[in-house]
Structures are given as structure tokens and as C-alpha cells.
Amino acid sequence: MKWDWSAVSDFMPHFWDGLIVTLQALVLGSAISFVLGLVWALLMRVPTRWVTWPVGALTEFIRNTPLLVQLFFLFYVLPEWGVTFSALTTGVFAIGLHYSTYTMQVYRAGIEAVPVGQWEAATALNLPLRRTWTVVILPQAVRRVVPALGNYVISMLKDTPMLMAITVLEMLGEARLFAQQNFQFTEPLTVIGFAFIVISYLASLALRALERRLVH
């Protein structure tokens, strides 16, 4: 096997394109999963089965079917019903939706970990329910779950190559395209491998900094 630095430099413009797409998918997918997961977690606490049953069934279904199948479904089946989005939009939504079914469990655990005394104090002060959630319960719950959410960000990063299956040219897609056109596999795959490590590492540093800032 021969290492060819000129292949590396030829690949770099494609790499940057792929990196931007990967980061877009990661950041937007994370944002969707964080918001949607919280929505699911809160809906699961609505005291009526008319809400918890459908939400529970839907999220259970999404969590227990493969992300790849969901990607294909959203990308190839939805257009038959007249719903069409770009490949990247579809991919970001699919990842965000898929991971929201995991983050909802993280939020649930975080909410349940807030001591019952906090609810009682809020009642004793007559705080309205909405205010109790927004200034008492959720700030404490979210603080507790940042590390767990961070782990899912890393997982999501490692799942972004699946978007290649629906024609999104993220890092792996760019690397494969370059490899097939130039018959040079080693260099592009090595470059993106390192890129994944570097992104994971930076993301974990950022999350640790966030955790530290949230601790009181």
C-alpha cells in the first residue's frame, strides 16, 4: 500500500464540502432531537391516555426500527404522497426524529430525578404550573442530562454517514465518490476517519465546558 500526499491534497476541496454537510447534519439533527425529545417527554406526562398512548406508540416504533429504513422511507416513499424535501433536509429530519426518541428517555430520567420537594416548594409558593416547569423543574432536569445528551451527539455524528444512502454527500459520500473516480481509497478514507475523531473530541470538549458552566 502506498500513501500519496497529492491524493490527499486533491481530495481536500471535496473533504471541506463533505465536512460542512456532516456538521450541518450533526448540528441541525442534534437541535431537532433535543427539542423534539423534550416535547415527547413532556407529552408523556400529560395525564391522559389519549396523548400518552399515541406518543408512546409512535416513539417506540421509531426507536425500534433502523434509522436506515427510516431514511429510505422518508426519502423514497413520502414523495409518492407528494411530500418532497431535499436529501439533506430529509436526512437531518430523520436523524433528529430518530434520536429524539432516545433523548426523550434522557429527559424523562432528568425530570424524574428532580426531587419531589422542588414541586412541593413550587406549590407552596403558588407558582403556576407553566412557571414551575420553566424556571424550576426544567432548568434542573436539563442540567442533569447534558452529559447523556452529549453522548447522543457523538452517536449522531457516527450515524451521519448513513445519509450517504439517500444521496447526501457528507464526508463519507465525498470520500467514496473521490475514491471511485480516482481509484485511491486509502487517503480519502483516512482523512475522514481522522476528521470524525477530531469532531468527536471537539464536541466532547465543548460539552464538558457546557457541563462545567451549568454546575452550581
Binding site: P115, G117, Q118, E120, A121, T123, A124, L125, N126, L127, P128, R131, V135, V136, P139, Q140, R143, H216
Partner: protein
Amino acid sequence: MHPTDSKPDPRRSTGELIRLEQVTKRFGDHTVLDHLDFSVDAGKHVTLIGPSGSGKTTILRLLMTLLKPDEGTITVDGDQLFPAPEKQVREVRKKIGMVFQQFNLFPNMTVLRNITEAPVTVLGMSKDAAEERARELLELVGLTEHMHKHPSQLSGGQQQRVAIARALAMRPQVLLLDEVTSALDPELVAGVLDVLRDIARSTDITMLCVTHEMNFARDISDQVLMFDSGRIIESGSPEKIFSEPEHDRTREFLSAVL
């Protein structure tokens, strides 16, 4: 609308403030309170004593609406608290404040914000007025210099004093004190009790107090109620209950705790 000085509030009623009628509370098969009747007059300091599990704390929790009775009615200042629609509960509950055994300060807020949050969002006080009031209360509990700290930076005794200030900031007519020194290290108890003695002396607030601090009970109480198995078996002035208890159970209990 919401005076921040400490003049007696003209809205304060005299006479009977709290009334429980035929209140029953069960936990599963266990009946904690059994058709209990009792009332508290405005401005009085009433201490509930008795063995654990006798229903003292349950009464405070019913009054704070943290629990619902299975039967009976609860009235505060002439307005029904139970049974009552949620909207009315919210109104009546404004008259009641509570200090908990475990402090239950909001750890994500500063001391100041812990105290101002409810006056601003529930009573509609301006932020400035609420902070002014909070400063006065922090002075009362001796913690002015800790205003901008978070609860975790304070000792248990300091946290409990903040919790007292937080409850008073809502200008309740009734203050419920649920074993407020039980979770404290022994050397921190006195500071908290001193603050409460001060409040009992200098305000017209009605106090309902569950405690194992018999000296404190003797100092501040107008009336002591001895509970056993969900019933009041004896009541009277602290002098009478502590010096000449009539009931054998009271004598046994007091000799065990004094």
C-alpha cells in the same frame, strides 16, 4: 397594593383562621387522620407534638394542598380550601406559606431570586419592590451578604433561613413549619429557631408548627396539641401540656423526648 413595610395588614382577620372539619386521610389501609376537627385562631402560634406517624405533618401537608383529604372540609379565613375548584384553591393558598424539613430551595436560582420569584410571578409585584422586600427579609434572617449566592454555597441553617424568608415574602397569613430543624446539624439549629422566635414575637402571623424541639415549642406556642394515632388527645397552653399533662400518652411521649 402590596405594602412592603411591616405594619399590620388591615386585611388580616381576627378570630378563627383555620378550620378542619371531620378530616380523614388514609394512605392505603392506614388511616392517618380519623375524622379530625380542629381550628386555629388568627395570630396564634400552635405547635403539634406527638410520636412520628401520628398525623402532625399530614395536617400541614393538607393545608398546603400537597395532599388531598379523603373526607371532610378545610377552611382558611372563611374560604373553603377543600373541597374547592382549582381556581379557588390557588386564591386561598396565597394565604398560606410553608417551610420544609429539607429546605427545598431552588438550587438553580440565587438566594435573592429564590425569594423574589413568587412575589413577582404570583403576586404581580414589580421586580424592584420584590427585591426591596427580599432585602428586608434577608436582613431579618441575617443573610444579607449571601444574597447573590446559590443555595449550595450556604450551610443547611443558612438555607433554612432563606427558606423562611422566601415563605414570608409571599405575606402569608399562616406559616406552616414542618420539622424545620430536623435536617440540620445540631450547632445550626439555634440560629434557625432564633429567627423563628423573632418572627413569632414581631409579627402577627399565625404559625402552625410541627417540631421535636420542645424548648422552642414552649417558648413560642400559645397552644400545644398532642397527637396520637390521628387524633388530638390533649391540648392546652404549653405550661399545662409540658408541666401537668393529663393524658398518660402525653406523659410517656414527653418523658421520651425531653
